[in-house]
């Protein structure tokens, strides 16, 4: 590689949070006009490190050099002044403001010509952005575009993108990568934080690897390969092979017919959906984010009103309260985009979060903290949760560790149906495999599993069957051994619809627990939905 100018150099940077070392003696270089990937498992300190460049955090030790000079970044404003712009993983946008208002936010100078200037930036990089649209009306990818334009409008020479692809469709990812290449042509330097190896290989010139808060090495992308990168990232050789357990499935555990669910804004989320789950079988759900997956899960566990029938071992569960549904063994762990939004109380400790689910087993008015703490210790040991103690607030843990607790807690309740949505969202390889192993263990115990996933490769190898949703409609249910990624991809976009080709064939179990007459009766029975 020819000698280029160094724009950022980090020397011996260290940072810790309440006793948890997030970064330790990190050294890093960024050259002008290059795309640098920062690769690392979750909790390896990538975001923390970048937040020190963007002025959100202050390093405890070490020095930052920008364009060869020692830089003091005390606030986000200082960071802008050095020409650094960061697109955070959790977007920093004001929901009720328009795109335009968000972009000019904090600009000190004259903004009279801003509208035209922003329009020019959009044209130059090929963004389609309605500047008058409010953020809360936007899709995730539009929001991300606003974030990127915001940084560009401030004339940033150095862009930091924190896991920008986590919430995008493959097409949107391609678009983003094209934009990034265009920026590189403009001699801007880009840092992309990711843990997806294929993206590292596709977009970056160089890659720097962090592991457990420590700097491991930097490599030229063209001189390396995913296997090598994985080794550096996890520190030991890992078997990348995902296993599909082959066991005899049981009779249908959960059967769903004619499911209709509405979204919060009263638009249709799920439209006439039939499917069933068998014990010892994993049904994967593929679909672009926001195609009704969340609403479907909520309907099943009693958190949302619905039309249609849901039966559990042949018994209708319509109108059951969420507690009752949990009692009969249906568990859900939904990992939302922000990971902390559902399922765990961020300020409470691990023990307290476990108590939230188990307190009903306590006799008398007092909570039994002792056994909950033992349970917490058990989880920490079994799933390798990294935490100073069982009493650490959950929000101080890294994403992967939070997820392990969430999934571990759900499985601890010994369910016969597990509904899990994006359980590996934002997780590194090691933690992901741990979660897959847990699910496989459950499958071996004849638990029925509904797995809502993002990564098609994982769905294809891990699940027994895949149901494809497109705008709340069932596009068909296929055996993973009889299909391929292309077919699923076509179904996800609605270009192929198996249910239309063969109506009535999908999602109706031949060995249903109920006869068709009984289903008819269920349909007629209008159980008042619980609020």
């Amino acid at each position: 590689m020819e000698e280029k100018r160094i724009v950022i150099e980090l020397k011996n940077i260290s940072k810790s949070f309440k006793g948890i070392q997030a970064n330790k003696n990190i050294n890093l270089k960024l050259y002008e006009g290059e795309i640098l990937s920062i690769l690392g498992e979750n909790g390896s300190g990538k975001t923390t490190l970048m937040n020190m460049l963007s002025g959100i955090y202050q390093p405890e030790e070490g020095e930052i050099f920008i364009n060869g000079e020692l830089a003091n970044i005390h606030s986000p404003k200082d960071s802008f002044d050095y020409g650094i712009g960061m697109v955070h993983q959790h977007f920093k946008l004001v929901d009720v403001f328009s795109a335009y208002e968000n972009i000019v936010l904090g600009i000190k100078g004259n903004i009279r010509n801003a509208y035209g200037e922003i329009q020019n930036i959009c044209d130059k990089y090929g963004f389609e952005l309605d500047l008058k649209k409010r953020i809360h009306e936007m899709s995730v990818s539009e929001k991300q575009t606003v974030e990127i334009v915001k940084v560009l409008y401030r004339n940033a020479k150095i862009l930091i993108l924190d896991e920008p692809t986590a919430v995008l469709t493959p097409q949107e990812i391609d678009k983003l990568f094209n934009v990034m290449r265009k920026m590189r042509e403009d001699n801007k330097s880009i840092i992309i934080i990711t843990h997806k190896l294929n993206e590292v290989m596709a977009i970056s010139d160089r890659v720097s690897i962090l592991r457990k808060g420590e700097y491991i090495t930097s490599l030229n992308t063209k001189d390396t390969n995913p296997k090598e990168l994985t080794e550096y990232m996890v520190g030991k050789k890992v078997d990348l092979k995902l296993e599909r357990l082959r066991i005899q499935a049981t009779a249908p555990t959960l059967e769903i017919r004619g499911l209709h669910v509405l979204k919060d804004d009263k638009t249709v989320a799920i439209d006439d959906l039939d499917f069933y789950l068998r014990g010892g079988q994993i049904l994967g759900v593929a679909g672009i984010a926001g195609c009704g997956q969340k609403e479907m899960c909520e309907a099943i566990v009693g958190l949302r009103n619905y039309e249609g029938s849901i039966t559990h071992f042949g018994k209708s569960i319509k109108g059951y309260s969420p507690e009752k549904i949990k009692e009969i063994g249906i568990s859900m762990s939904f990992i939302p985009e922000d990971r902390l939004g559902l399922g765990l109380a961020p300020n409470l400790s691990i023990t307290d979060n476990l108590l939230l689910k188990t307190y009903r087993q306590n006799k008398g008015p007092f909570v039994d903290r002792k056994s909950a703490r033992d349970y917490a210790n058990d989880l920490i040991e079994r799933y390798g949760v990294v935490t100073p103690s069982t009493e650490t607030p959950v929000k101080n843990l890294s994403g992967g560790n939070i997820q392990k607790i969430l999934v571990g807690r759900e499985i601890g309740l010994k369910p016969n149906v597990i509904i899990t949505a994006y359980p590996v969202r934002g997780l590194d390889i090691n933690s992901s495999y741990m979660i897959y192993d847990i699910l496989n263990e459950e499958k071996a115990k004849n638990t029925a599993i509904l797995f809502i996933g993002e990564d098609l490769d994982v769905l294809m190898t891990f699940c027994d069957k895949i149901m494809v949703l497109c705008h709340g409609k069932n596009m068909g249910i296929v055996h993973t051994k009889n299909t391929n990624k292309e077919e699923i991809g076509l179904m996800m976009t609605g270009a192929k619809n198996l249910t239309e080709e063969k109506p009535g064939k999908f999602g109706i179990a031949e060995d249903s627990n109920l006869s068709s007459k009984e289903w008819e009766e269920l349909k007629k029975e209008d159980v008042t939905p619980n609020e």
């Binding site: 986000p76 960061m86 904090g106």
Partner: protein, 319 residues
């Protein structure tokens, strides 16, 4: 009869309007200040001290209205802003819980005003009130029209000017945009290089000063300087906070709302009703506020919601 009711409603409503404008400004910066009743009491106390100060400086001869007004407004705003400073220091700098701090400030402000105020000479207030109460003298020749629009004291016009100014600043200016971003999402504002602390402090101090004028207005104008320590400013303060919700954080609606609240407050005087019914009437503004809350919640309109960051302290390195 109706004209006198309407002027009465406007005049009464201005007490709430000052409190509402001040609190709206503070809430737009993301701070829920339940200390408004206390701050209005401090404003009343400051105003009374200002009046005494005027007489101490200029003697008790003929009153020079403009000096009296300026000194009263400055002292009132200053006392109220000191209350605001205490609140801002506790909640913004020390990150104390906003609700608790506000309630403590209310208790303190009301008590402090009664304690200091009870030892003050009230006859001076009554005298000074005459020149604060009226601004124009020609209105009597204009009949009903004159009575409706020109019969008030300076502070009434000031309240409406402040409401319109706040509306304009929030909607049309860069400062307003930045301020709203601080209230909606301080993380975003901070990441954009906006100094969250400066914005919050400024909004709280200015908002408190404006709210304080409500206390001054009630004592020196509305009640004609006849009630001071015995005035129930605390109740007016709570109504002001209710008016912020009623107005859906919009100063323009606040102006109309203040007249409605004012009308509901004085309506019993025009109906000749018993004490029990009086208590029922006193509830009406709150019931109206509850109805507005219910309706806006049902409509689920994003633009009629409180700022998203309201009531939450901001700490940059929070994880």
């Amino acid at each position: 009869m109706f004209a006198s009711f309407l002027t009465g409603a406007v005049a009464m409503g201005v007490v709430y309007l000052f409190g509402c404008i001040g609190e709206t400004l503070i809430e737009k910066a993301g701070n829920l200040n339940l200390g408004i009743p206390g701050i209005m009491s401090l404003g009343a106390l400051g105003g009374a001290i200002g009046v005494n100060l005027y007489f101490a400086i200029f003697g008790t001869g003929d009153i020079i209205g403009i000096f009296l007004m300026i000194i009263a407004i400055i002292m009132s705003g200053l006392f109220a802003a000191l209350g605001g400073l205490l609140y801002a220091f506790l909640t913004v700098t020390l990150q104390a819980n906003q609700n608790v701090t506000g309630l403590v400030l209310t208790t303190f402000g009301v008590g402090f005003m009664k304690f200091i105020g009870s030892s003050m000479d009230q006859s001076l207030l009554t005298r000074a009130s005459r020149s604060i109460k009226t601004l124009f003298t020609f209105y009597e020749d204009l009949g009903v029209f004159g009575q409706l629009f020109f019969s008030y004291g300076f502070l009434v016009y000031l309240a409406f000017i402040l409401a319109i100014t706040l509306h304009f600043v929030l909607k049309k200016t860069k400062v307003g945009l930045f301020l709203r971003s601080v209230g909606e999402s301080p993380q975003t504002a901070d990441a954009q290089g906006i100094n969250v602390t400066v914005y919050k402090y400024s909004a709280i101090l200015i908002g408190s000063a404006i709210a304080g004028l409500g206390g001054l207005y009630y004592v020196m104008d509305r009640s004609g300087g006849t009630t001071f320590v015995e005035a129930n400013i605390e109740a007016f303060g709570w109504l002001s906070v209710a008016l912020v919700i009623f107005s859906m954080w919009k100063p323009t609606i606040g102006m109309v709302g203040s007249i409605i609240f004012g009308g509901l407050t004085i309506l019993p005087n025009y109906l000749g009703i018993s004490n029990v019914q009086l208590k029922l009437f006193a509830m009406l503004p709150y019931i109206f506020t509850v109805i507005v809350l219910i309706v806006t919640s049902i409509l689920d309109a994003k633009t009629s919601k409180p700022p998203q960051g309201l009531g939450i302290n901001y700490f940059r390195e929070e994880r």
